[in-house]
């Protein structure tokens, strides 16, 4: 594990919440979040559990990033 990865991992440990949402709940919420984010309306505190999960879960984050990028690409092609 190189230095930057160790730093990221240490930060992820220290930012751990007592309760975190599951990958299933993240999957349920992410499409609404992406649409709101694309409209600049996803800044609310109610989305913090989702954002936290996306920071902690690489697999869900990758899924989210592709969904975000693809929907933005679609919007730009309209």
């Amino acid at each position: 594990m190189d230095k930057s990865k160790f730093q990221s991992w240490l930060l992820s440990i220290l930012e751990t919440q007592d309760e975190e949402i599951s990958c299933s709940l993240c999957f349920d919420l992410v499409s609404e979040y992406v649409d709101l984010e694309n409209e600049g309306k996803a800044n609310g505190r109610e989305w913090e559990p989702l954002r936290h999960h996306l920071n902690q879960c690489l697999a869900c984050r990758q899924d989210y990033e592709v969904l975000r990028d693809l929907t933005r690409l679609d919007a730009s092609e309209l």
Binding site: M1, F6, T16, S22, Q56, Q62, L73
Partner: protein
Amino acid sequence: MGKARSNEDWLIELNASGDQQVEAIADLREILLRGSLYSLNHNLSGHTNHDQNEIVQLAEDCAQDALMAVLEHLHEFRGESKFTTWAYKFSINIALTAARRDWRKGVSLDQLQDDSEPFEWLSPEHQDTNNPDHSLLQQEVFETIRDTIRDELTERQRQVLKWMVFGEVPMDIVVQHLQTNRNTVYKMLHDARLKLKRKLLMQGYGAEEAMALFYTK
């Protein structure tokens, strides 16, 4: 890419019968293929020896699986997002899962299953040898992490942590290997992080202290 539909149009036409439903399903499949192809092109090409024809074939298979998943879950769509965004996430999830599994094809997790001590996973290169005080404190953090991993994590937590954090094994490979689901693996990692965090806090290392210790140049 098919005709423009509102969320309501999608639900009506996918639940209709005859030509209207056939056309809606064909358009949905085209959207899902776009999602899976985009996912694979951005996450598979460059990692493997697949040529574009193989990627397209895999994308077709993923789109088909995604179509089944979307139709199965159609009753759960509440209109909180655009229908196309909601549908895309199925094809992206299925395609990226396939890509992550493909990336590690041929690498057995058993090869990463050894009896090495947790401390051996942490390289000493992180220590600040130019600053003895820092070095001592960093050593204390390493020892806290090592002892917690060794003494307080369950065997399964320790193994999953080693695979995913130190071995960089994608979650989907671990899920497949353990014949479980993402929620279970995420929970194992969460519980492990929580134990490590609590131990570090007990030693006086909150985020601020630890970052000051490890983020200095």
